[in-house]
């Protein structure tokens, strides 16, 4: 079937053409781009300006925590965004958050109805591959169920306890909690954050060489992670 000619191909400064041309030329701003990548736990383009990179590293952990916290608290995706707005720096003049958008809780968010058929049920991401030492049970990773919100809540609570223990000045207690976390959650969703906490706890416990080893391994494995700057500090790089 032949595509019809577009209206804008037929004339000059027509109002319709002006509107459509403006729409076609539209690009998101660089600040929106960087914030979007940061919201997804990425750094735009793999590298951003030094300020932006520091910013991304400084807030990414908070953001991911807040995303999880917001989800557990039953906040909407709009709520996620609210906390994201607080967690992320504003490169552009701040716009009143359009809590706009009373979106359903993300944990319960249903995929767009029309794309349901196109969405594959099995998960095949690397995130679903069991960690080393986890019992495989012969099951294909892709057959594993998605982590239930309750599991995520428990996982968050475990890491939160470790974090609080560390902040209270008990790094050994934090390490013990992190060890328990590793045992209790073979399908960890917050392993990156746990690794950062572990490095900090090791450093706090005076186990500097181990902290550096963990941090360097993290930097090697995740050189583009928004968390890498913090780990580079610990690694002394």
């Amino acid at each position: 079937m032949r595509d019809p000619e577009r209206p804008s191909e037929t004339g000059g400064g027509d109002p319709g053409e002006q509107m459509l041309r403006a729409a076609r030329r539209y690009r998101v701003s660089e600040s929106t781009r960087q914030r979007a990548f940061a919201a997804a736990g990425l750094v735009a383009g793999g590298s951003v300006a030094a300020g932006g990179k520091a910013v991304a590293a400084g807030v990414a952990l908070n953001l991911r925590w807040w995303i999880v916290l917001a989800g557990l608290a039953g906040l909407s995706a709009g709520g996620y965004f609210l906390v994201a707005r607080h967690a992320l720096p504003s490169a552009a003049p701040s716009v009143a958050v359009s809590a706009a958008t009373q979106v359903q809780p993300a944990q319960q968010e249903t995929p767009p109805a029309d794309s349901q058929a196109a969405i594959a049920a099995p998960n095949t991401s690397i995130g679903d591959i069991p960690p080393r030492g986890a019992p495989s049970g012969g099951a294909r990773p892709s057959a594993a169920p998605r982590q239930a919100p309750a599991d995520l809540q428990a996982e968050l609570a475990a890491l939160d306890a470790a974090s609080k223990t560390l902040r209270r000045g008990d790094p050994n207690g934090a390490l013990a909690l992190l060890d328990a976390y590793g045992r209790d959650f073979p399908r960890r969703s917050l392993a990156l954050e746990a690794t950062v906490l572990r490095a900090e706890a090791l450093e706090g416990a005076g186990r500097h060489a181990e902290a550096v080893a963990v941090a360097r391994a993290f930097v090697r494995q995740h050189p583009k992670s928004p968390l890498v700057d913090r780990m580079r500090q610990i690694a002394g790089e």
Binding site: A23, D114, I119, N123, A194
Partner: protein, 189 residues
């Protein structure tokens, strides 16, 4: 490329694998402007686009593993549609926009101001707001994204003939609004 996994790391696996990161980055790279255009064409004001884009990204972050590679663009589009729709419902509750005319948004605009792309885009969004959703999505994908009817049919999972008929009706409705603008332009000269 990252270095291979070493064993001097603690027994904490790192589930946000690089391949997922790469996929997420690729999808965002390929679709951020598309998300922004969709939001604008669906009437989201420029001041709210940043919020909307990030909401779409958060949904994508959460759902990526359940989206087939061939359906990424469709998923992004559907998500942006929903975010825009909710944004519109919220805006409609704001006192400053509650009284906006719905049938003929072009009546409140000086056609000369269409030279300002932001205002042109604002008006387009308001005009498209008056269309039925099934017409608007085809119109946006064809006239703004410049996708072929075959691509649109595949993306929306509808027959090409349906795309063609919806596009024709959408153009008719769009043309009615543009005609009023032309009349205003002529009167101003």
């Amino acid at each position: 490329m990252d270095a291979p996994v070493t064993h001097d790391a603690p027994d904490l696996s790192l589930p946000l694998g690089e391949s997922r990161e790469r996929r997420l980055r690729r999808v965002l790279d390929a679709n951020l402007d598309f998300i922004g255009r969709t939001l604008r064409a669906y009437g989201v004001p420029e001041s709210d686009v940043d919020d909307g884009v990030q909401q779409v990204c958060l949904v994508l972050f959460d759902k990526l593993d359940r989206v087939e590679p061939a359906a990424e663009r469709s998923f992004v589009f559907r998500t942006a549609q929903r975010i825009a729709s909710r944004s519109r419902r919220t805006r409609s509750r704001r006192p400053e926009v509650a009284g906006e005319e719905a049938d003929h948004p072009e009546d409140s605009l000086d056609p000369e101001r269409l030279a300002d792309e932001r205002q042109a885009l604002d008006l387009l969004g308001r005009i498209l707001d008056s269309m039925d959703e099934e017409l608007r999505e085809v119109f946006v994908l064809h006239e703004v994204e410049e996708l072929t009817m075959a691509s649109i049919a595949e993306m929306l999972k509808i027959p090409q003939g349906t795309v063609a008929s919806r596009l024709r009706r959408a153009r008719e409705q769009f043309e009615q609004h543009v005609s009023r603008l032309r009349v205003k332009q002529a009167r101003a000269r």
